[in-house]
């Protein structure tokens, strides 16, 4: 630390020394440069001043630095003292630290020894631990094996229990089945007994039925025979009646026959008259027809007559109407002839007139041509005259001019002649004269030329005028021709115009119609286009396969199918329920149910009860019936045996009694119960044979039992003897 401070101080001193040495150096170059002038001297002075200032400044700084150095030395010393103290303290601390370090080292060694021991112990223990773990693992494995064995044993136990349960259930089912079957067997046996009894009764009934049927059939045959005989009797009766009636009619017939014969004779006579009359009638009819025809003709003829009369009247009136002296057709013919003659004469006149007209027209045209020519000629003459007049005038003018010239020339000559004395001017005068003469000649020639041109022009104009007039004449003639022919040709052109106009109108009408059709078709096309129609030749309609509509339809179909399946399953359930109800009724006592019907148990119980009740009641009824039948049968047999009569009810209130000792099967007595309650004997074959007994017992004694007993006795006696 002190070194560092020293170094700083030394560096500052060094810097200061360098700084001091610096200003000494620049002085030398300033001293060397002396001989330059005033500026240099001034410069030198300035520099010297600057140097002095710098020196002063440096001295100040030096003093400052000395002070600082001293302060710094003081501080340096203080710092050194402090540092020594600090060093001392630190040395002490260092020694303490060393002692501590040694102690710590000793501890460390001890600890290390311990550590080694502990490690050894650790290793031993780890080994023991491992051994124990192995033991544990083996024990665990054994435990697991035992557990597994136990589990398997448990499962086997459970399975065995289940089997046990199932077997028990099966046994129970079997017991149930057995019991139900026993019941069924009993029922069936009972039914069998019933059926056997029924069979016996039915067999008996059958026998009786057969007997009855045979008797019935015999009776039926007899009845038929009797009916046939009856019919024959009736027919015979009817025949007899008719024969009787016919016999009664015979007398009437004979009378009629007589009358008819007379009529016949009469009619034959009148036949001839008839034929005659017929011929007359035919003749009259034909006459009638002819008359009718003549009538019609008459009518027509009268009409014609009227018409002809009218015509005649008209013809006769003609004479009055026309004013001629006509009373007969001869007059009319005469008149007609006269008229015709007149006509002929007129036609001749007409023809002559026409020919004259044509000739006149020809003359006229010729005259016109001559006229034109003449007019042309006159025009030419006029022109000639005019030209000649103009010539004359010109000539007159020329004459005048010439006379004037002459006069002038004369005057000049005279003047010249008077002035002949002066000859100075003669050459000049001559010259002038010549010049004037030349000028005059020139003017004359010019004049003549102009006159010639004028005449030419006048001639041309005259010719043109002639031409114009001829053309005008021709035009007039042509116009006249056109006017005559235009009338004939205008009709033709008019017809053509008419046809052409008609065509135009038709075409226009068609055009309008076609335009309307076009508009209508365009409207239709537009409408179809709006509705979505398209031309299959040019366009095609596409859509995405998996589009929402098809997807929705598929979903709907699937829903429908699932619903249908549900419906079918539900129907099956219902059916099974109904069947299950019937099954339940049979198995009700055991109380076992199948899971399908478990839901519907409660309602079917009532049904079962009701069914049970119904069946029991039916059984009871049947049994009662059997019992009654038995009793009735017994009673009847007893009656038969004791009284000797078998009483059968054939129809309502009719009782048929058959005796034990009856000789034939159909020997029976019929008794009818009347409205008052008394029994009456009906007639049978057998009863006819017992007429005496009937009289005695029924009519006299009015006792049916006596009658019956008498009958039995009688039959018995017959039986025993026979």
């Amino acid at each position: 630390m002190d070194l560092e401070d020293d170094t700083t101080i030394l560096t500052t001193l060094k810097s200061f020394n360098t700084f001091i040495s610096r200003p000494e150096r620049p002085q030398l170059p300033s001293e060397r440069s002396t001989g330059s002038g005033i500026l240099q001297s001034q410069f030198k002075r300035n520099m010297e001043l600057l140097e002095a200032a710098e020196r002063v400044h440096s001295q100040n700084r030096f003093l400052q630095l000395d002070q600082e150095k001293k302060q710094m030395e003081l501080s340096h010393k203080r710092a050194r003292i402090e540092l020594e103290k600090a060093a001392f303290d630190s040395a002490r601390d260092f020694e303490h630290e060393l002692d501590r370090n040694q102690e710590l080292l000793a501890r460390v060694k001890k600890l290390e020894g311990r550590e080694i021991e502990v490690n050894k112990n650790l290793s031993d223990q780890v080994e023991e631990n491992q051994v124990l773990r192995r033991n544990l693992e083996t024990a665990n494995k054994k435990l697991e094996e035992r557990d597994s064995k136990l589990n398997t044993a448990n499962t086997t136990i459970i399975s065995l229990k289940d089997e046990l349960r199932e077997l028990r259930q099966k046994i129970q089912n079997q017991d149930l089945l057995f019991s139900t079957q026993n019941l069924e067997k009993q029922e069936l046996q009972e039914q069998l007994d019933l059926q056997r009894r029924k069979y016996h009764e039915i067999s008996q009934l059958c026998h009786t039925l057969q007997a009855a049927q045979s008797s019935c059939s015999d009776h039926m045959i007899k009845i038929k025979e009797l009916e046939r005989r009856l019919i024959l009797h009736e027919q015979d009766m009817s025949i007899v009646k008719t024969v009787k009636s016919e016999v009664a009619k015979v007398s009437d017939l004979e009378k009629e026959m007589k009358r008819l014969r007379e009529e016949n004779y009469f009619l034959r006579e009148s036949r001839e008259n008839c034929s005659l009359l017929k011929e007359e009638a035919e003749g009259l009819r034909k006459k009638l027809e002819r008359m009718e025809k003549t009538k019609e003709e008459l009518v027509g003829v009268e009409l014609e007559k009227q018409r002809l009369a009218e015509k005649l009247q008209a013809w006769e009136n003609l004479g009055q109407s026309t004013g001629l002296n006509i009373r007969k057709p001869e007059d009319l013919s005469r008149e007609v002839i006269q008229i015709q003659q007149r006509e002929i004469a007129l036609k001749e006149q007409n023809y002559t007139l026409n020919s004259r007209v044509r000739s006149v027209e020809r003359l006229q045209s010729e005259l016109r041509a001559e006229l034109t020519q003449q007019s042309i000629k006159t025009m030419e003459e006029q022109k000639k005259r005019e030209t000649q007049d103009s010539l004359v005038r010109r000539l007159q003018k020329r004459v005048l001019l010439l006379t004037k010239e002459r006069d002038g020339m004369r005057s000049i000559l005279e003047s010249y002649d008077s002035e002949l004395a002066s000859t100075e001017y003669s050459p000049q005068l001559n010259k002038r004269l010549k010049e004037v003469e030349e000028v005059l000649q020139r003017t004359q020639s010019h004049n003549t030329e102009m006159e010639a041109q004028l005449t030419k022009a006048e001639q041309d104009v005259g010719a043109l005028r002639l031409k114009l007039q001829t053309v005008e004449l021709e035009l007039d003639s042509l116009k006249k021709q056109q006017a005559s022919s235009a009338e004939s040709s205008s009709s033709v052109s008019k017809e053509e115009d008419y046809t052409l106009r008609k065509k135009i109108e038709d075409l226009e009408a068609e055009r309008q119609r076609l335009e309307e059709q076009n508009n209508i078709l365009e409207m239709r096309l537009e409408r179809n286009n709006m509705q979505g129609d398209y031309d299959p030749v040019k366009t095609r309609v596409l859509h995405f396969k998996m589009n929402p509509t098809s997807v929705a339809k598929q979903q709907q179909q699937q829903e429908v199918e699932t619903l249908r399946e549900e419906v079918t399953t539900l129907r099956e359930l219902v059916r099974s329920l109904q069947e299950g109800g019937a099954m339940l009724h049979a198995q009700d006592s055991s109380g076992i149910y199948t899971p399908n019907i478990s839901l519907s148990l409660p309602p079917s119980k009532e049904v079962q009860d009701l069914r049970k009740q119904m069946e029991s009641s039916e059984l009871r009824n049947q049994r009662l019936k059997e019992v009654f039948q038995k009793k009735i049968q017994e009673f009847r047999t007893v009656c038969y045996v004791l009284t000797g009569y078998q009483i059968d009810i054939t129809t309502e209130n009719q009782y048929r009694l058959t005796s034990v000792y009856a000789e034939h099967m159909d020997d029976s007595l019929l008794f009818k119960k009347g409205s008052s309650g008394s029994m009456q004997l009906m007639e049978t074959e057998f009863s006819k044979t017992l007429g005496e007994m009937v009289d005695l017992h029924l009519h006299h004694q009015k006792s049916i039992p006596a009658f019956l007993s008498a009958v039995t006795l009688d039959l018995f006696s017959r039986q025993t003897t026979i």
């Binding site: 409408r527 286009n529 709006m530 509705q531 979505g532 129609d533 398209y534 299959p536 030749v537 040019k538 366009t539 095609r540 309609v541 596409l542 859509h543 995405f544 396969k545 998996m546 589009n547 929402p548 509509t549 098809s550 997807v551 929705a552 339809k553 709907q556």
Partner: protein
Amino acid sequence: MTSTLKGITLKGSAELVAEFFSFGINSILYQRGIYPPETFSRVTHYDMSLQVTTEPKLNNYLTNVVSQLKEWLFECSVQKLVLVITCLETNEVLERWQFDIECDKSAKESSAPREKSIKTIQDEIRSVIRQITATVTFLPLLETQCSFDLLVYTDKDLVVPEKWEESGPQIIDQSEEVRLRSFTTSIHKVSSMVAYKRTDSA
């Protein structure tokens, strides 16, 4: 996209028209109640708020159809797009939204962009969609459960793609037609109209 370019190219026009169809079909489905309104969400496009479906199956179907339609618009081989609404119980067609497309085929050859600003096209599209929304007031109510289908009328010589098949035009018998606005991108002209089954009471 076309918004940065000055003119309209064939590709840009196809994209614009396909985009219009996508939004138009969505708004028709929302307005007519084919799908429940809670399955739609609001978005902003063409400077107006529109309803777009969020159901994934329907979205998938619509994107498939619209992408195929874009290709066909670029080839100028599609003539009409029809949205058909059928009643599920009776299988009757109740409504038909028909969009006729006229393509200027000279744009295929020239390939020079045409002068029409995007803004005017979008204004026209906006007015068409507004009119579609307004037509709901006079269309008869769809009381039964309905589903929809998209039909495309294309040229006969077009190759039918894999997932598409031919179908009938599914025309309504006894229909009333109403013509709506049209818009044009100067390459494609789309005119719209709606046909509905005449109700006997009216």
